[in-house]
């Protein structure tokens, strides 16, 4: 194996803290694209170059370059967003992007279809409402997640606040962002750029962190590089179990790559969060593999060197003594829908948004309705880790108002959808995602129609099973921890993974390779039937399939690709 640094390392090193030639690229009128190297750097600014893949081959024939446009991801720590921020995003999406807003699996916003000549103005307008896009992508800590269910309001507030602090602490210090997009308006007043945590070449790879409050594992804490599981004792936050080394991404046919669930490292006090987090980040900074981007995530650093070694590094670097992990239990990784009232008497409504796409479609004027709600809302929005939206922190009066508007705009379809659909997620994939091998967002809804029917036939119409689809093995919708995981392999073809835990606590196992729709339905239908008759009380689908030996229990990322029968 080669030991040369990966090309992205060269680009980062030469970038003068993420500047590269972005300014020149924006000015070049001959192409709608950025210079190749700049497409890597733009990610750190929250900007992905994409092209309309539906048009790609047609345009090559037309001797035109691909229809380039940009996806912009805006960070929303903990998913908390004010009505003013929502309205701003809506406005920007309508005027500069493709007229839709995409809520992501990490509680962030995405806009698609912004052309290069509008990029700068769009970024400026996003920043009008104190939302930014810096570090929404790139080899840095991404949007920090926090839970969006509300039973213990003061603990949740505390945890959300901690998520914000961590997000701020790990935000890159470069002034390139302001310089390039906001016309040099140097908010930090021109301090020479130093990256105290990241150093000049940032991390070897993306890095993701999340907070969670049991019993709901809505953020999928085990899929994160770094996680904090809140331990609540006597209704108060005692501290966190720290988790490290989760991640989903892999490549088909390369068994050295695999999804992996995080290990619990130990317990820390609330005051120690930033120090522990920084130690985890700098260990990965110093030891992550910078020669091979497919082996550069923290999960491989830990598998290569061992959890104990890693814990020692963290303890030594942070000066924090990690205590033994405290006990916790998760019941599910989905969202809790509908109205909830927290212990302080405030109301929260969680709305199902299929695959996170906010758009007006026929009768269901979702985008318009949410805009109108935002205009009158005394409260806040919460983007959920399952691509849904909560309308939060409402008084009794506001609740009545919002309730009326949900009906008026035909938005509330939560009651019509089956539990299967309510527990579904799909990544973006075609036509924008450059890595997609198969459809996902545009396809899963119709596949669920068929599976709904199969479940109803098996007498499971009222049962919740988690199902997630991605257009490629990168795993953006965390499919390997859905009870039914579908991972694109080629047009219309998916690998089917089964047996994952309902709370995201166990990886699924490959059950069918390269299956088309008929084969998927044919594979699942008999399993639904046997589950329907053979399950134990409250037994989840994934657990049932493992117990009855339909699939092997996958106990570690390293054995994800093992042959049947192996452990």
């Amino acid at each position: 194996m080669s030991t040369a640094l990966s090309d992205v390392e060269r680009i980062k090193a030469a970038s003068r803290h993420l500047r590269g030639t972005l300014v020149e690229s924006l000015r070049n009128p001959i192409t709608g694209a950025l210079a190749d190297d700049d497409t890597q750097l733009s990610k750190f600014h929250g900007i992905y170059q994409q092209d309309d893949r539906d048009l790609r081959s047609e345009r090559t024939r037309q001797k035109l370059e691909p229809a380039y446009s940009f996806m912009i991801r805006a960070r929303v720590p903990g998913g908390i967003c004010t009505p003013a921020q929502w309205l701003n995003m809506d406005d920007v999406a309508t005027r500069h992007a493709n007229g839709t807003i995409r809520l992501t699996t990490r509680q962030a916003f995405q806009l698609h279809g912004v052309v290069k000549t509008r990029l700068k103005q769009t970024i400026q307008e996003i920043n009008r409402q104190m939302t930014d896009t810096l570090a929404a992508c790139g080899d840095v800590n991404r949007n920090v997640m926090a839970p969006t269910h509300y039973d213990l309001s003061h603990v949740h507030r505390q945890v959300a606040e901690e998520a914000r602090r961590l997000s701020a602490h790990l935000t890159p210090a470069t002034s390139a962002y302001h310089e390039i997009w906001l016309d040099g308006e140097k908010l930090d007043d021109g301090e020479a750029d130093v990256e105290p945590i990241y150093g000049d070449t940032y991390l070897p790879r993306k890095f993701k962190s999340a907070f969670v409050v049991p019993p709901q594992n809505d953020v999928d804490v085990f899929a994160q590089d770094l996680g904090f599981i809140a331990i609540v004792e006597d209704n108060e936050l005692a501290g966190y179990n720290v988790t490290v080394g989760g991640g989903m991404g892999m490549s088909h046919g390369e068994t050295a790559t695999y999804p992996r669930l995080a290990d619990v490292l130990g317990f820390c006090r609330p005051d120690d969060v930033l120090r522990v987090a920084e130690a985890v980040v700098t260990t990965q900074r110093d030891f992550g593999d910078r020669t091979n981007r497919k082996h550069a995530r923290l999960k491989y650093t830990i598998d290569d060197r061992g959890v104990d070694w890693f814990r020692d590094q963290v303890v030594e670097r942070s000066g924090v003594t990690l205590e033994a992990p405290r006990s916790f239990a998760f019941v599910g990784n989905g969202d809790v829908y509908g109205w909830q009232r927290d212990d302080a008497g405030r109301w929260h409504y969680t709305l199902f948004i299929q695959n996170g796409r906010v758009a007006d479609t026929g009768e269901r004027r979702l985008m318009t309705g949410l805009r109108e709600i935002a205009k009158v809302l005394h409260g806040e929005f919460r983007l959920t880790p399952n691509q849904n939206l909560s309308i939060s922190n409402l008084s009794d009066d506001s609740k009545a108002l919002v309730d009326g508007m949900l009906g008026e705009f035909g938005i509330d379809n939560t009651s019509q959808a089956t539990p299967l659909r309510l527990h579904s997620m799909a990544c973006v994939a075609f036509p924008t995602c450059g890595l997609a091998m198969a459809e996902s967002e545009r396809y899963l809804p119709s596949l669920i129609d068929r599976l709904d029917a199969a479940m109803a036939d098996a007498g499971l119409a009222g049962d919740a099973i988690t199902i997630r689809m991605t257009g490629c093995p990168n795993g953006c919708a965390r499919p390997y921890i859905a009870e039914i995981g579908l991972v694109g392999k080629g047009p219309g073809r998916y690998n089917l993974y089964l047996g994952a835990g309902f709370a995201g606590q166990r990886l699924g196992c490959l059950y069918r390779e390269n299956a088309n729709e008929e084969e998927i339905v044919a594979a699942l239908s008999p399993l639904f039937s046997s589950y329907s008759v053979g399950r134990d009380v409250n037994e989840h689908f994934g657990d049932f399939l493992v117990r009855t030996g339909v699939v092997r229990e996958v106990t570690a990322g390293r054995t994800f690709h093992a042959a049947a029968g192996d452990r």
């Binding site: 009128p29 345009r59 090559t60 037309q62 001797k63 035109l64 000549t117 080629g490 219309g492």
Partner: protein, 597 residues
């Protein structure tokens, strides 16, 4: 090759010389003949002080070189190709390495050894960069490749149904075209490294047999004698490609049309136009016959020969435009006073001629007449000219056009231009169209290749400049090339965008300015770019650059002229009159040439 010298027409030698040459060449092998032709070219070049017309730049060594072409989506194949190129280079082979996207498939026939590294994607589809090459290779356009040796490394994944499909297709098709398979195809699964390395090793071992020393004679194409094709004897050229090159959202439909000149002996120079003989739109012919109440099958006499009215209106007579002769004749036939009044008003007449078609006239001013009288009033269908968009040197046996389809709404119905829609809508690959070359000696590249050129070509006006840039690249011209292009929208109307980008990247185009009028509130045109670049433009001109303008005569040509006068007057610091005079002088000196229509 058996023609005796006496039987060769239009020969540049006198009889005595011809016989001497014939004797001198008698008994030589084809290889020796090739050497002699190169020798003679060299002697001629030395005497005239010009470069010998050997194989074009960039292909000079193709006879001896290994060409490695890859089609790769996720980079595996590209990496293998890179490694092979490095290894072959180390062994002293001359190597050309290219993505299939950057390779002109027509060059295959000039190669002697090509190796392909190609993966399969989708459901047995080629990787994106190999798509067009594959289409060419599998099509009937692909030439015979008797003199080509090849080998294929196919990448794939056995978990797909169509394992290594693209590689297999290449391998089979190349053999079918007569190329010689140097090594059997090697098909790799996802763990391709070992198989690929082994293959590269055997390839390097086998190479000396096909591209070893002693095979270095430059390949000169035999000089063909120009056959005469003109208006009366047009050549029926086969359509190779009819490709829309404006994007989906465009307000325009511009076609890139490639025609084959194979067997015609037709030659052209960059700057020439191709005349196209066409048929009128069948729907329009039917509408016209209907509007007049005639019988399409009835016979009429067209300048002494008899044919059906339908054929006469389709093939012989102008019906998509009007002219004074027709309008006057129709005025007399119809006796319509309103038409007569229009004819008496110069301005109205102009408008009528510019915007009305025959059908509009006969519908607006109905008359009771017979088919023969109507036919007599019409003008003969004239050929249409299109600037040639290709360099013959870069595209042997082909001619390319850039055609904007004329379609518009008027008088409540759809209207069509005759030639442009014939080319755009009614011809597909395999059909043929009658053409001949219209030389244009007043639109020529500088004789001196070191001279810079500035080309202003908005819209289809860019066509000849595609030929210019190709030609200068083939010649290895040292002069700089600057193109100023404009159209409506960047995303859909940037004609030949990919080609310009490639030319820029590879140094065949030095500067490209673009003006897209409808992408922002304020309209910008090529003349605005000229004014913005006044200083550099003037520097280029001062340095001896030639300036070319092609495209719309109605507005653009005048606007550009005015901008040029501004540039000269501001940069020279002289008055308008003087600037105008200087521009005229450039015109006179042949340094400012226009081809506007």
């Amino acid at each position: 090759m058996s023609a005796s010298p006496e039987s060769i027409p239009a020969y540049p030698l006198d009889d005595e010389q011809a016989l001497r040459l014939h004797d001198a060449l008698a008994g030589l092998t084809p290889g020796q003949l090739q050497w002699v032709s190169g020798y003679a070219a060299g002697v001629a070049a030395a005497n005239a002080g010009i470069d010998a017309p050997v194989a074009p730049a960039g292909h000079a060594d193709s006879a001896e070189a290994l060409t490695i072409l890859y089609g790769s989506q996720t980079g595996n194949g590209e990496q293998i190709a890179n490694q092979l190129a490095a290894a072959a280079g180390d062994k002293g082979f001359a190597v050309t390495l290219k993505s299939l996207a950057d390779y002109k498939p027509a060059n295959l026939k000039r190669e002697s050894m090509v190796t392909f590294v190609v993966s399969t994607h989708g459901e047995g589809d080629p990787p994106d960069d190999a798509e067009l090459f594959r289409e060419f290779l599998l099509s009937t356009k692909a030439p015979r490749l008797e003199s080509l040796n090849f080998s294929v490394l196919a990448l794939g994944d056995t978990s797909y149904l169509n394992f290594c499909q693209t590689g297999r297709e290449f391998d089979a098709r190349l053999a079918e075209l007569g190329a010689k398979r140097l090594l059997p195809i090697v098909e790799c699964d996802v763990d391709y490294e070992d198989a690929a390395n082994a293959w590269a090793g055997s390839l390097l071992d086998a190479l000396p047999a096909v591209i070893g020393a002693g095979n270095a004679a430059p390949k000169l194409r035999a000089v063909e004698l120009p056959a005469k094709h003109d208006k009366n004897r047009p050549f029926a050229a086969e359509v190779l490609t009819n490709q829309k090159i404006t994007g989906g959202a465009s307000t325009k439909d511009v076609r890139h049309i490639e025609l084959s000149l194979e067997g015609s002996g037709l030659r052209y120079e960059p700057g020439d136009a191709l005349a196209v003989l066409v048929e009128n739109p069948p729907a329009l012919v039917a509408q016209l016959i209907d509007a007049l109440g005639f019988d399409g099958a009835s016979n009429v006499d067209v300048r002494g020969s008899s044919r059906s009215l339908r054929d006469a209106l389709s093939l012989d007579l102008e019906i998509t435009s009007t002219n004074l002769g027709f309008l006057q004749a129709w005025g007399a036939i119809s006796g319509d006073e309103r038409l007569q009044a229009l004819l008496d008003d110069r301005q109205e007449l102009r408008r009528l001629i510019d915007t009305w078609q025959v059908i509009d006239v006969v519908r607006e001013f109905p008359a009771d007449t017979d088919a023969q009288t109507f036919v007599n009033a019409l003008r003969k269908l004239t050929p249409r000219s299109y600037s040639i968009a290709s360099s013959l040197a870069a595209n042997p046996d082909e001619v390319h056009l850039t055609v904007a389809a004329v379609r518009y709404e008027a008088f409540g119905s759809e209207h069509w231009g005759a030639a442009s829609t014939h080319l755009a809508d009614r011809l597909e690959a395999g059909d043929s169209v009658k053409v001949y070359v219209e030389p244009n000696t007043r639109f020529r590249l500088p004789a001196n290749d070191a001279t810079d050129v500035i080309m202003v070509g908005p819209g289809t006006g860019v066509a000849p400049f595609r030929a210019f840039v190709e030609e200068r690249a083939e010649r290895g011209a040292a002069g700089r090339n600057w193109l100023i292009f404009g159209d409506r929208n960047f995303s859909s109307d940037f004609l030949y965008q990919l080609e310009w980008q490639r030319h820029l990247k590879e140094g065949r185009l030095d500067r490209l300015d673009v003006a897209f009028s409808r992408d922002q509130a304020r309209k910008v045109y090529v003349q605005d770019r000229i004014r913005e670049s006044a200083h550099e433009l003037f520097e280029w001109l001062d340095n001896g650059a030639h300036l070319y303008v092609c495209g719309d005569a109605q507005h653009m040509a005048g606007d550009v002229d005015a901008a040029l006068i501004d540039v000269i007057s501001s940069q020279r610091n002289v008055g308008r009159d003087s600037a105008e005079a200087q521009l005229k002088e450039l015109r006179r000196a042949g340094r400012y040439q226009r081809d506007v229509y």
